[in-house]
Subunit: 253 residues, 2 copies
Amino acid sequence: MLTKNQAKFISSLRLKKNREEHGLFIAEGIKTVNDLLNSGIRVRQIYSSSNFQLSLFNHHIEVIRVKQSELKRLSSFSTPNEVLALCEIPRYELDLASLKDKLSLVLDTVQDPGNLGTLVRVADWFGIENIICSEETVELYNPKVIQATMGSVSRVRVHYTDLGAFFARAETELPLLEVYGTLVNAESIYGQGLSAAGLILMGNESKGISEHLLPFVKRKIAIPNYGKGAESLNVAVAAAVICAEFRRTATAC
Amino acid sequence: MLTKNQAKFISSLRLKKNREEHGLFIAEGIKTVNDLLNSGIRVRQIYSSSNFQLSLFNHHIEVIRVKQSELKRLSSFSTPNEVLALCEIPRYELDLASLKDKLSLVLDTVQDPGNLGTLVRVADWFGIENIICSEETVELYNPKVIQATMGSVSRVRVHYTDLGAFFARAETELPLLEVYGTLVNAESIYGQGLSAAGLILMGNESKGISEHLLPFVKRKIAIPNYGKGAESLNVAVAAAVICAEFRRTATAC
């Protein structure tokens, strides 16, 4: 049974300011909730309209049975999932030194929630542990972002920071770490020799990479265009093609 | 100036049955409308809140100036574009023989409009001229699909047909054309030798490739998973990684 106050509180978390104030976010869907339960993220409460089963490890978590109609009121989506979890926003620091031997994604003002969520899922698939976002990038805990990550939010660390300051520090502290920037008309990703570790900077959906970040890009890369008219690829699609090529060449070496 | 009847008619085209009845669809955004004007698709009318300029070739098309508030009423989106075009749904036949030397995408019940639109954009980028969709795939002229194609709808032909019958005909009439199917746990796309031409079958977002289509798949392919928990990639993302690898290896040969 759902109380009026619970319903009101859950619904309030659709807004960023309320998520930030309470340090909580909402995740929906069996797969996402199960992935979160198996991660370092703390799940506080679960609202379920079905017979959602917790594993032995999670028996301390409160599961509140609600009607489908009640879940519909809580959900951020027109087609609600069977299960909804109230989770704590994890706090983690970006440890620059740990990026030394890793491939990481850097996002400059990605604005569409679906794109950010898909990027997190892409990172997870390609074994990328960290995504560093500009402060203008859409917030990770937006319900549409969480939904699009398909559970990968539980495995990829997403950091928000001033990218100019981040690149300046990386240049000093990790001088050997290559910085790649994805640009239209740059050199093809094929045949130029990609490093196993590096930072891959992806730009905004319409404006690309910000002017002030270009000086930090040492390797400009592009996906060859085999068509006759398309001007660009979706940012998550482009990131996936690039990450695949990094992993393919690193494995082939 | 927009008449009440015009507004009502345009709004009615948000529904598939009305699009089908009138053979018309709505496209929004300067880039998409310009791409359509330069394509074989007939644009009937343009509604614009700004000073949208037509090229000399298109001077016969009627441009109706409307207020931003009026455009907002016509738009399918919460943030309307400056320009909206009323276009004729093109009728084209699928010429099976023409697929012989080409790479084509085949979509089995892709349901998310954003995914289909992104797939059309991916096809355009990788020089894929035809997408063959199952009849259960989301309709191409859904405003969200058109929006996500970013103009690529003007360059890629999207066909809807019974995929079982399509593959049976292809098997008989184009016996040398390879049929690839994207499956989790199949052999990696790398190092198995991809052909320059072929049909690449992508499955539904959650169910994958339908059981009855599996016998037509002669080459099962997968993108290696470098992560520790992601179960799948978004369908448009996966298609892009696969198309990129087909084009890379064909060019390298």
